[in-house]
Point group: C2
């Protein structure tokens, strides 16, 4: 593709006029990113992973690849003239024994072998470098669709109490302390007590066990907060922490008072639905500028 396109609006960067490939994992976020990017007038191509991506992506120009079809992936990007990528949505760890590798894998084998080592963060950073060294530009979802990022302050009608603000501060400190171990984007704190810390189980699983703990402790009053932030040094372009309507539902089940996220760094999937669910349940959704809260 050509980078010498006309610039109809000086306030737009050149990026906004290049076709964008969205390499899409599971969940609703890939489609939300594609739709938000398309609303800015950008040409969007979806690349779905069989068994992961919502088939609803097919209303965009699209292609399907399977795990192991690395050659096909690059051929598709070439074919569509896409040098700009967003990699978004979750993936299950594939069963390596069942993958059929194409010739693109053989060519990239030394680099791909390194992908399996280290924590998630290392793996994702390696994926980004892999594309970058081949001349692709990898963008964060928030870059191409900033409307999806949590803003500062209350997102809905509820605001945190002073007690919740203290829990929020402690929660961000926990997440920060764990960052150097390449784990944890989330923790639950209630009344100053750290109820749970997320490692590799995911936020939903962590909230589910909080719900069990709160039932056992017979917690009547709703209190405590889910804190969610990127790990320090996290490859945010491909692994941005996200909340959505399910997060709200799980926080209600854990009898929490609200959710606090790092403003500008956490994606809100289905924002209108998420905020409506929180408002209906009396939960606060609160964005915090991290350099202020966890310093």
């Amino acid at each position: 593709m050509s980078r010498r396109q006309a610039k109809p609006d000086a306030s737009e960067t050149k990026d906004a006029f290049r076709p964008l490939a969205v390499i899409a994992g599971n969940g609703s976020l890939p489609l939300a990113v594609a739709e938000a990017a398309a609303r800015t007038g950008r040409q969007v191509h979806m690349i779905g992973i069989r068994g992961e991506t919502d088939p609803a992506m097919e209303h965009f120009p699209h292609a399907w690849v399977k795990w192991g079809e690395v050659g096909k992936l690059f051929a598709t990007l070439e074919d569509r003239g896409c040098r700009d990528l967003v990699i978004i949505g979750g993936v299950r760890r594939p069963d390596l024994a069942k993958i059929r590798f194409d010739s693109g894998v053989i060519r990239n084998l030394p680099r791909l072998l390194r992908l399996g080592l280290g924590g998630d963060d290392t793996l994702l950073s390696t994926v980004v470098r892999f594309f970058e060294e081949k001349g692709y530009r990898v963008h964060g979802a928030g870059e191409v669709a900033p409307e999806l990022l949590a803003c500062e302050g209350s997102l809905g009608t509820e605001a945190p109490s002073p007690e919740s603000l203290a829990d929020i501060e402690r929660g961000f400190a926990v997440v920060e302390a764990l960052g150097r171990f390449d784990i944890g984007q989330a923790a639950v704190v209630a009344g100053g007590r750290v109820l749970a810390v997320e490692a590799s189980e995911g936020t939903d699983a962590m909230l589910a066990r909080c719900a069990v703990l709160r039932r056992e402790q017979r917690s009547g009053v709703r209190s405590g907060v889910l804190v969610k932030a990127p790990k320090p040094g996290q490859e945010q372009r491909v692994d941005q922490p996200t909340i959505g309507p399910d997060t709200v539902r799980h926080c209600v089940e854990a009898r929490l008072a609200g959710i606090a996220v790092a403003a500008g760094l956490v994606l809100v999937a289905n924002r209108s639905e998420t905020v409506a669910a929180a408002d209906e349940q009396g939960l606060f959704l609160y964005g915090v500028r991290l350099h202020q809260s966890s310093a």
Copy 2:
């Protein structure tokens, strides 16, 4: 009681000849501590909490108290001439609404009200201070029954591989980083990746979710390690981390290669049974001097 007893053996401290009250929570450890202390020739009185303590304690001189019977507890200690205490075994958080408080509670109300605040650590430290300010000496289980503490190196026949030693080092670093938040005595690390971190759910619950994660990840080869250590600054006299046969069983279910504990700081309940179970399953049990490993 008199502190001027005869000293039949110069290598013994005076402590060893004072009667010892074991305030016993649930599990097998209170009885193990009582038996180990009794084997040193010490007079042991058990104080059980209804609904918590194993009734097998009744083969020692004993008394039962209920939650809220603070006055009865002190009357019993007075009656038996016990100024030396061990507080050992788990307790469920009692349902405050169902407790019937005796006059001992009323007298101690201002202090007791503070017990509910802060993390577990704060609560237990307050319990210790509460007894100490009344002139009691609170001992750690390891002090009166050192045979129950994990020693350095391999406890059974298996030894950790170099890969496991790397996981062990990372695990101790995680636990250390979390110590300042008054949470977590344990973490699970496999292949350098932190699978799980314990907050308030307990080690067994953490291992149960690791078992689920490992099944989902189709982990064939047994790898990874449970690391267990005291929190920095933890009130170790009343909240000493413990492993036992159940820990081994849960680690097998999580397909871990072994268990590493802080030598001299972690109790091994039912040691012979624990070591036999680990040997039978090919799991290592490994004690690490913390000033060496996590510095």
